[in-house]
Amino acid sequence: MSDLLAAVAQVSALIAALALVHRPLGDYMARVYSSERHLRVERWMYRAVGADPDAEMRWPAYLRGVLAFSLVSVSLLYLLQRVQDKLPLSLGFAPIDPDQAFNTAASFVSNTNWQSYSGETAMSHLTQTAGLAVQNFVSAAVGMAVAIAMVRGFARSRTGELGNFWADLVRGVVRILLPISAVAAVVLVALGAVQNFADIHSVTTLTGDHQRLTGGAVASQEAIKDLGTNGGGFYNANSAHPFENPNGISNLLEIFLLLVIPFSLPRTFGTLVGSVRQGYAIVAAMAGIWLAGVIAVTWLEFAHPGAASQLAGGSMEGKEQRFGEGGSSLFAVSTTMTSTGSVDSFHDSFQGLSGGVLLFGMMIGEIAPGGVGSGLYGMLVMAVVAVFLAGLMVGRTPEYLGKKLGSRQIKLAACFILITPALVLIGTAVAMATGEGESSMTNTGAHGFSEVLYAYTSASNNNGSAFAGFGADTVYHNTALGLCMLLGRFLPMVFVLALAGSLAGQTPVPATAGTLRSDKPLFTGVLVATIVVVAGLTFFPALALGPLAEGLAV
């Protein structure tokens, strides 16, 4: 089988699997979040934190829950890293420096999982499992909870109530993330990933060198790393490491895990708002952008001219032989577009234009399909903006799913879409203006700039992947990127929840023949165009000076 054919087969198998799973999973998630019942283990948890899972919350209360929980998470995770040497299972590692500990805490709580450290040489077993892995679950569940609150904003009428944050959080972990990642972890172990609490092994290689191998709860962390669109690898090499991602099958499984919840949530949305077609319109926009990205990067990587590339059948620098061009491109696009940030190849080594596509996938706001939960609410906010523009053109003041989009709604949506571009551009510009950017670059010129741009784009959009050449572990970048991650995660949530609250309070407007149909391919097209044009116009100058200048020079 030629490499290209293999790539096509992988993409096709992946799409088929997602198409098969998204319906039952989406419907299951809809049931989870609308169920009246509490499991016994859930009741214990509610009692432990003293929450009443049946109390309905208005948006400020819901937001307080999100922020309070996340603040506690950041503090605990910071503390755990700072005292890891005094706790069990330390492997003898020193405590993490304050700036890096802050960066890491911000990173894992904001579901970014940007890593300015090397996991196997810095983090103890306890930090990895009780700190980082726990955040992998709960930060993902927080995102899903906010997305569900947003969906309730559309689904409910004449009430300001958005559900109960604690119930949504606990259910997301207990009923969705835990069961799926447990199954996935077992499968990954079967495929060859490691799972132990062993000490560091010292081995002598064939050439006589000594190598230290760290084991750990790798498979379990790998499962939730991908399923929760976290991306923080056990090892520095992330999913390129054979202990995390042993072979082509596990590679495809991991990509599937990245995509399965983000692509299923639109179904949940459709079910909860009472029209699965509305969900299809959203998922079609997500899938269209994602697939276009996959095709573009795969093509660019295969087509790269040059003698070395042609011998290798593509540009293979920074890629694993196990995965090849196809598996690497598919993984790269999927991880950047899901706000995951795990990597099975080095994005720094991709072609200039491919790097541009990966960057653009993040710049559109991680919504195609985006992170668990955050992808859906981000896409719904874009849908609000698209409806506002397109809705006027059918001669009515805009309405989406029967909810009027007036000045309050537009104000909140506008604030939402302002935040991440502002963080990316200001973060990059300040780094460049102060010289902090240039001092962390490995490369010069356009590619060096791309490294800095990529870092701030990744952090602000809570992706977590990096152009590996970028030296991120400085006090400046640890702090600045940490702030970008926190603000890029929680400020949008403020506006999303406020928007959901304002929508839930409305009386729905019945649809007529004069209403813009938001469940038609035409609307999906408008939505995609709005996303691409708005992000494109915002970032075109920056992209021109980075990936475009580099890529067009070839």
Binding site: F388, A390, R396, S407, I410, T512, V533, L545, G551
Partner: protein, 734 residues
């Protein structure tokens, strides 16, 4: 009849009084009551004396750009500009580049950019000034009617008591004034004594006089209108400065104009786009420095102005003003822009049957002979017995007899010894006794009892026919004859029908396609109502409707989230008019109705509601279309400016310059010039509104996206290339 729906949106003539119509019937005549409604047929042509200068027409005249220039310059005041955030940013940019150009007076490029940035601001102000200017001309005409009226106030509020002469401006609410033929009514009020014909052309542009009388729904008079005959006593109901004319002047001048909710929302979106682009441009400098291509502030300012949505930012308020203006051109005064916007959102239209859907009176539609009588015989008797019936119904019988059976119209004087029995509301019959023959025509009950009195009996087939007519929603009239003392016999039944206006079915069909449900409101019984509803093609009807029913219906629709529009004229319509989202009061209606509604139709044409909805939609579409166009334009501008800025540092970026623009300077300048000129080019479209056709939402969106989205992508590529070509022809440049 009245408003012809196809009146094109770019209404070319100074057409206010194109309505060749009747002044509308204020109260529907109840069947067979014989009440004559005053209807004045107007000659079809326009009365130039009255319409001159009233409406500025829909066409954009380039001369307006010149005449509005002083206003546009005045608007450069930053305190005014700040209301439009997008254009305010451009003004700041213009000031900045001016300072930079002054600092470096030798560079032509800086001056050229500066001039075109100022022009961009000026063009935006011009668009608004032109839109406002059209209203100002109307306001001046209105003001002329207001000044200098002298009122004859009754000193002791005694209608026969002494009068005193006071200026019209000194009248207070509750004052009584006398107006006689030839005098101008000094203020808004209600007629409390007398009947008069009034020339309201100053307000409506309609030259035909209307009847105003005390009591009932036609008692309201408007200050500034002229009494043509008789004497009336008017009780003043409006405070000075708050009269209808005052409000009208305020409205057409745009003085009272406030931003509408949707305009505010759109402004927020535009402001946030401006912030995004501001960030994109401000942060660009450190990136450019790294690339070794530091940019001048002039270039960065030019880039910013090209990116922010100046096209829609410049035209937004002109679009709003023009929308109100388009209503004024159709003789509808909207009391707020909010109402115009709401009109676009209406999903339920409540239409009164009489005068809106039907012509307002029943007409004979068919002769149904019974008991072996022939059609001719029946028609002859029907005609003869209707000659003494002066109601529209009676006239229509004569007309039908002529049309159907070619019976020559006879007159009362033609028959000697004839004893005419005129129609009265009490007898509900008319007829004639001539040469021993008695012919009668009238309401079924009345004729049947007459027949029985004359020794006849009620034939079964006549009763059945009458029944059938009733079931079909019509009104049966019986025709009976008694010859030479024989028993009276029934000849047949006349089918009286409410005639639905031509083209209503198509109109309602189009409304349905636009997603608007029509509900017919009528006082008729459900049977009749259903028949007419079916014939007219409305979606629903409310029969035997009382004002309370109407109110309940509106509340019910609104509870479901629907917006309701209705027309009304009577005092008892006022609560419903106030409750409806769009309440169009007829100018012939009472002051209570006019006060309650948020629009007043000066032509008092209830079918105009449909046009009001269309204008509301057109306003919103124009906004959306130009916003889309404005944003789509940016793509081409990037392709012009980015290579111009950075191709020196990264030659590979010259690949993006596929327009092959002559030089970096000419490329940037071309983008700025295009950005400014497109505003002027779109002023006519903003004033006229985009073409509107009632289509379903999907087709409408596809059409507008193609035109303004895709068009907005392509147009600037062509425009910028063309301007660049012209610039490069200038010696010493490019």
């Amino acid at each position: 009849m009245t408003s012809d729906l196809k009146r094109t949106m770019d209404n070319t003539s100074t057409a206010t009084s194109t309505s060749t119509s009747t002044s509308p019937t204020a109260t529907p005549p109840s069947a067979g009551s014989g009440v004559l409604v005053p209807r004045q047929e107007t000659p079809g042509g326009q009365d130039s004396e009255h319409t001159a200068g009233r409406i500025g027409g829909g066409l954009f005249d380039p001369k307006q750009l010149l005449t509005s220039l002083p206003d546009a310059l005045r608007k450069l005041d930053p305190r005014v500009m700040v209301k439009s955030p997008v254009m305010f940013v451009v003004e700041i940019g213009s000031v900045l580049t001016t300072a930079l150009a002054v600092a470096d007076p030798g560079g032509w490029f800086g001056w050229a950019i500066t001039v075109w940035l100022w022009l961009t601001v000026l063009f935006a102000n011009l668009a608004e000034a032109v839109a406002e200017g059209r209203g100002k001309a109307q306001a001046d005409t209105l003001r002329r009617t207001k000044t200098g009226t002298v009122a004859r106030r009754l000193a002791n509020r005694d209608t026969q008591g002494p009068e005193e002469r006071v200026p019209g401006t000194e009248l207070r609410t509750g004052d009584l004034v006398v107006c006689e033929a030839g005098e101008v009514i000094p203020g808004d009020g209600d007629v409390i004594e007398g009947v008069a014909s009034v020339d309201e052309s100053a307000i409506t542009g309609e030259s035909a006089p209307v009847i105003r009388e005390s009591g009932g729904d036609r008692s309201a008079v408007t200050g500034g209108t002229k009494v043509l005959s008789d004497r009336i006593v008017v009780e003043i109901t409006a405070k000075p400065g708050e009269t209808f004319i005052d409000r009208m002047i305020g409205l057409v001048e745009g003085a009272a104009r406030q931003k509408t909710p949707n305009e505010i929302a759109l402004n927020i979106l535009l402001a946030s786009l401006t912030v995004i682009f501001l960030l994109a441009v401000v942060t660009l400098q450190p990136f450019a420095v790294h690339a070794g291509a530091e940019q001048s502030l002039i270039v960065l300012t030019a880039l910013l102005v090209c990116l922010i949505p100046t096209t829609i930012g410049a035209l937004l308020s002109a679009i709003g003003i023009a929308g109100m203006d388009r209503l004024v051109q159709r003789n509808v005064l909207a009391m707020s822009g909010r109402a115009v916007e709401a009109a676009g959102d209406v999903s339920t239209l409540l239409l009164d049957k009489t005068g809106t859907i039907t012509h307002g009176n029943r007409q004979a539609a068919e002769f149904l002979p019974v008991q072996g009588a022939s059609g001719e015989e029946l028609a002859d008797a029907a005609q003869l017995s209707s000659l003494a019936d002066k109601t529209p119904e009676g006239r229509s019988v004569v007309v039908l007899a002529k049309e159907r059976y070619g019976l020559r119209e006879r007159h009362e004087g033609e028959l000697a010894h004839a004893e005419w029995v005129p129609f009265t509301a009490q007898t509900r019959m008319s007829g004639v006794d001539v040469d021993g023959t008695k012919v009668r025509k009238g309401a079924a009950q009345a004729v049947l009892s007459w027949v029985t009195e004359q020794g006849g009996h009620a034939p079964e087939d006549a009763l059945r026919s009458a029944e059938e007519v009733s079931e079909a929603g019509g009104t049966p009239l019986l025709v009976a004859v008694e010859e030479d003392g024989a028993a009276a016999r029934v000849l047949g039944v006349i089918h009286l029908k409410d005639v639905v206006k031509a083209g209503m079915r198509e109109r309602f069909g189009r409304l349905r396609e636009m997603g608007i449900r029509t509900v017919m409101i009528t006082g008729d019984n459900p049977l009749t109502a259903k028949a007419i509803a079916d014939e007219a093609g409305v979606d629903d009807f409310l029969a035997e409707a009382t004002p309370e029913d109407k109110m309940a219906l509106i509340r019910h629709e609104q509870a479901d989230g629907k917006l309701v529009a209705m027309t009304g004229d009577g005092t008892n319509d006022a609560p419903a008019l106030a409750q409806a989202d769009v309440g169009v009061a007829m100018n012939t209606g009472t002051s209570a109705a006019k006060e309650a509604g948020n629009m007043v139709d000066l032509d008092s044409d209830p079918t105009k509601l449909i046009e009001v909805v269309e204008i509301g939609k057109q306003l919103l579409i124009t906004r959306g279309a130009l916003t889309t166009f404005s944003i789509a334009n940016d793509v081409a501008k990037y392709f012009a400016i980015i290579p111009a800025m950075f191709a020196v540092a990264y030659p590979s970026l010259d690949d993006l310059n596929f327009m092959r623009l002559a030089s970096p300077e000419s490329a940037i300048l071309a983008a700025v010039i295009f950005n400014a000129l497109i505003i002027v080019a779109l002023v006519p479209l903003a004033l006229r509104g985009v073409r509107y056709r009632p289509l379903g939402a999907d087709r409408m969106l596809r059409r507008n996206l193609g035109l303004y989205g895709v068009g907005g992508l392509i147009a600037p590529f062509l425009g910028i290339k063309l301007i660049d070509l012209l610039i490069s022809l200038i010696p010493g440049v490019g």
